[in-house]
Structures are given as C-alpha cells and as structure tokens.
Amino acid sequence: MIQLISFLVIGALLLVSLYSFARSSNRAEGGSGAMVQAKHALNALQAGLLPPELVGRIFSREDLEYVESETSEEIRELFMEERKKVALFWVSRVRKQVLSLKRFHLGSARFYARLSLRTELALAVDFATLLFACRALQVFLYLRGPYAAPGIVGSTAATAARVCKISEKSLSFLTPAYAGTVGDRATRPARP
C-alpha cells in the first residue's frame, strides 16, 4: 500500500510540475538585467521604503490622536481603514524587493561551478523563513491593524534596512564601471 501511494504521489507531482513548467515563460533571466533589477530593488528599499521619517509618518500615532479628538467616529473608521491599507502596501513592497534580491542571488549563483549544495540549501531555507516572516507580519497587520503594536513597524524597518546594508555588500562586485555597462545593456532593445 505504501508503495502504491508513493508511486501515485510521485506520478502526480511530476504531472503538476510539468503543468507549471509548460506555463512558464522562455525569458532568459539572471543576466545583466537581473543585476540592474537587484540594484533598483536595493535603491527602492533604501531611498523609497525605509527612511525612518517616512515610516514614522505613515504609522504616526499623532495623526490618529488628532483624528480621534477632532472628528466623528465614521471618519475615524475611514482613517483606520486607509492607514491599514498603507501599512499592508508598505510590507508587501518590502517583501517584493526582498524577493528581487533573492532572484538576483539565484541568477548569479547558478553560473558558478564551485556552487556548494549545502550553502545553497541553507540559503533556500533562510530565504523561505524570511519571506514567511514577512507574510506573517502582513497577517498580523491585517488582523490587528497598524497601531496594535507600534514596535513592529520600527523593527521591520530596521530589519529591512539591515537587509539592504548587507545586500549592498553582496552587490559590491558591481563596480561603478561595470554597473554602468550592465545598465546600458539593460536599456538596449532585446536581440531577436
């Protein structure tokens, strides 16, 4: 019986994998385009999503206190709804950029003959854990709202900033000269 189940499971898994394989695109990834994308992701995180003043402003309690003291209950609810949307959007953007960095690592690592199986497996687990943690944070914000735990926002921003700092080192071999080269190549029209 165990043998039957294992054969059925492997057969079914193979057919499901083939289905997603058939639907995947033929776009070549991981080249200069991916490096530029990773660099953009890093810039977006550092300049657009993580500055403390911006994060502080989005999740500021002062705004909530003002709305609570000066306006009606309906406006307060509307305000909370909007802030929740902004918070969720912010986390999803951070998660998206972390995914972009992950794609960059995979796109670069696959070319190296000295690729280490153990390191890659460990990294795969680490990335999965990090992305899961981001998702959990999204759920937390969705259920409890942006003001439920003020520490979360600051910590998340700090975490993402830390990610950026280390990513920047990871992308350091994109020297200005080389980054310029790949940037130019990425903006050219694709070859037939």
Binding site: N26, S32, G107, Y112, D126, S155, S170, F173
Partner: protein, 254 residues
C-alpha cells in the same frame, strides 16, 4: 483492433518525427533523443510486422525491445543536461552527480539480475519490476530537474521543452497506471494498455509539434567574475537573510 490502429498511428508518427529530424538537421543537434526515437521506430515497426505474421519469437523480442527502449529513454534527460544545464556550471554539477549515481545503481541491479535469472518468465517478472523502478527513478530525476530549473529560473527553447513535456507526461501517467495495475490486478490490464498507448501517442504528437524545426535555447546574459566571487556572494547573502530572519522573528514576537 483499436490497439492495432493506435500502434500503426504510432509507427507513422515516429517515421514523421524521424523525417523532420533529418530535414531540419535536428539529428545532429539532439542525437540521444533521435537514437531513442529511431529505436522506438525500428522496434515498433518490426514488432508490428512480427505480430501480424504471428511469429513465435514476437514475445521474446518484445521484451528485449522493451528493455532497450527503457534504457534509451534516458537520452532525453541527457539532452537536457547537454543543452541547458551545461551553460550553468553549478546547477549542472549537482544534477550530473545525482543522476549518474541513481542510473548506475539501477542499471547494475538490472544486469546482475538478468545474469542470474533462471528462465523467460523471470525475465518478464524482472521487466515489469524493473520498468516500474526505472520509471520511478526517471520520474524522480525529472521532477528534481524541473525543480532546479524552476528555482534557478533557467529557461529553455521550444525543442527541449517539448522533449521534456512529451516524455514527462508519458512517465507520469505510466507510473500511476503501473501502480494501479499492481494494486487492482489483471482487471486493470485493458485500461493499462490503452492508457499507455494513448499517452505514448500524445508524447509523439507533442514531440512532432515542438521538434518540427530547430529553436535555439534562450542564451542567458551572464558576466561572472572569478570563482572566489561565489564564496563572497553566498556568504553575504547568507548573512543578509540570517540577520533579517532573526529580526523578523523578534518582530513577530512583539
């Protein structure tokens, strides 16, 4: 009767596939795949004639052809290794080590068993068992390969994609049907035969469409530095995700 019609359709499609392979000069590009198709064409064609002529040696030769085609089916995986993974040294290294290890083990088992098999019925029993195990190994390999291709974002041309899709669907359906036949028994035999023939016909149709003419694999734009860069890349990325994970876990505990 239906079985014979499907059989003759299969021989026709194999011949057409070989003809297109010659015309489009795909034979030279994918030799392992076309050796497999040629072997299928010769065995199916000759066995078809032997079956119609009611030759006594039909049964014996059908088992031999079955063994040969089972083994040559790996040619498709070899083509994927040769054409796609060869561009990605790291991924290719993993795939090669694992594949040769598993293939070698199964082949050794088959050879040793055949050497000590007492008679023809043992060869039949061996074929059924070996077919199941060998297909299982190939299915695991193909599944692993598809996961690697998906994880590292490796893209393929129409030709190789067609080879994998055609062979993969036959592999998956045959594996499921084999398991069900072992469980249900002789009652499932007619369904099993029909399912196997239809999926094989579907595979030939997929191959014919995707291998009608040559389609190059997308070339990845890569510019890598020295090998030492990998250690730097891996270490930095690992630091990055490790630190981020620790912080996020703390955040979630708040």
């Amino acid at each position: 009767m239906l079985s014979l019609i499907i059989w003759s359709c299969g021989v026709f499609l194999e011949a057409l596939l070989l003809f297109r392979g010659l015309r489009a000069k795909l034979f030279l590009r994918y030799p392992n795949f076309y050796i497999y198709v040629l072997s299928l064409f010769l065995s199916d064609g000759l066995l078809y004639l032997a079956y119609l002529a009611k030759l006594a040696s039909y049964d014996k030769w059908s088992w031999y052809a079955g063994f040969l085609n089972l083994f040559l089916g790996c040619g498709i995986l070899l083509e994927v290794f040769r054409h796609v993974l060869s561009r990605y040294a790291g991924v290719e290294k993993f795939a090669r080590i694992v594949s040769f290890g598993i293939m070698g083990a199964v082949l050794c088992f088959a050879v040793i068993y055949l050497m000590f098999a007492p008679d023809g019925s043992a060869a039949h029993a061996l074929f059924v068992r070996l077919q199941r195990d060998f297909l299982m190994v190939q299915a695991i390999l193909l599944f692993g390969l598809l996961q690697l291709v998906s994880y590292y974002g490796i893209s393929m041309g129409k030709n190789l994609k067609g080879m994998i899709l055609g062979y993969g669907q036959t592999l998956g359906v045959t594996l499921i049907a084999l398991a069900l036949r072992a469980y249900i028994g002789p009652r499932f035999q007619s369904v099993w035969t029909l399912a196997q023939q239809l999926t094989y016909l579907a595979a030939l149709a997929i191959w014919l469409v995707n291998l009608w003419s040559y389609c190059a694999n997308p070339v990845p734009e890569s510019k890598i530095g020295v090998e030492a860069d990998y250690e730097v890349l891996a270490a930095k990325t690992r630091d990055m995700v490790g630190a981020a994970s620790t912080q996020l876990v703390k955040v979630n505990r708040l």
